[in-house]
Symmetry: C2
Subunit: 200 residues, 2 copies
């Protein structure tokens, strides 16, 4: 019989430590929160490229691979949004247990929802990054044409337009993507993150 | 704008290939199906230990980390069991995209449910392993005391007792855990699996 049934938490920790040693990295979650169009996924992908080059294994979790997969049966009601973040956080935890650094790109518009994520993932692993661009900038970019639709009333509860975005109160990092280049944004994030994910 | 929005499937494949190269392994799913008490998790853990020693990164997915996490809001109705396997399969897919070999230990009692898993995960990545021990052997072991409860009628729809187990028709491997030692069971699985997961 596996010991896991007796000391499940203890065994998970051992598992995680073994995998971290194997990968020579410390698993953390880089949680990118911000308005639609603020550049979360662009920044997330650029961070991943840079970390891969430096020998770190990462996994991006974002709307593209989550909403089309595990959460493809969730709508956008308040209840479904909470379930969306709960499942994302549980998936994240599995990746952390495997020693992997996750890069989570989700609007996650308020403290309540980000707090749920932190509770599940573990605050000690959670690096909160505010991808900060003004509503004007995001709306001007409108890469997916969503702001236009939201202004026309075709999308309800659209963050920034018909639903509020609460900026995080004490994010570890605030990246002003409206002003910085992607390159400089990545640098700002990595300056903070690298010491935390390095295996010692 | 990321290319992913234009060619999502293509980019996922590229991502997977990059991660596989990084890890020097080919990502596959070892899906262990069998009765409760047949030794799926015991075998799964032993396979993981052996693969880690050989330099392969794996992730075990089983009742312990799935039912207590992402699927902790699912009951055991027919509908919930299907949703259980669907979510497990979507999580598995995310790990495969990250180049990781998953070891999935779930009773998954019938063709319909295993077929759903294969469809989501992709048949080319799916190695079906029947962990085969007779009902008598499993019931005699009864490591979790579940058979006793099922015989007393305290658990409904218990596979093997009040609900059928359909053995897979064409599993890649059948491991007779009622006869083999764990060591020999692992050897049998690895003889088949190693050529598939080796990076060339």
């Amino acid at each position: 019989m596996r010991e896991k049934n007796i000391h499940p938490v203890f065994e998970q920790v051992v598992q995680k430590e073994r995998k971290e040693k194997f990968l020579q990295q410390k698993a953390h979650t880089l949680w990118l929160t911000g308005l639609s169009g603020s550049g979360k996924t662009t920044l997330g992908i650029a961070i991943e490229q840079e970390l891969l080059k430096k020998g770190f294994l990462t996994q991006i979790l974002d709307g593209d691979n989550i909403r089309s997969g595990i959460n493809n049966n969730l709508k956008f009601t308040r209840k479904a949004r909470t379930e969306n973040i709960r499942r994302i956080s549980e998936v994240t935890k599995l990746f952390l247990d495997c020693g992997i650094i996750t890069i989570n790109c989700f609007i996650s518009p308020n403290e309540k929802i980000r707090s749920l994520a932190k509770d599940i993932i573990g605050r000690e692993n959670f690096i909160e990054i505010h991808v900060n661009a003004s509503l004007e900038t995001c709306e001007k970019r409108d890469v997916k044409g969503l702001y236009k639709k939201a202004r026309l009333g075709l999308i309800s509860n659209f963050t920034g337009i018909s639903s509020p975005f609460e900026p995080p109160k004490n994010p570890e990092i605030t990246v002003n993507t409206g002003e910085l280049t992607v390159e400089n944004s990545v640098k700002q994030v990595l300056d903070y993150v690298l010491p935390k994910i390095k295996y010692i």
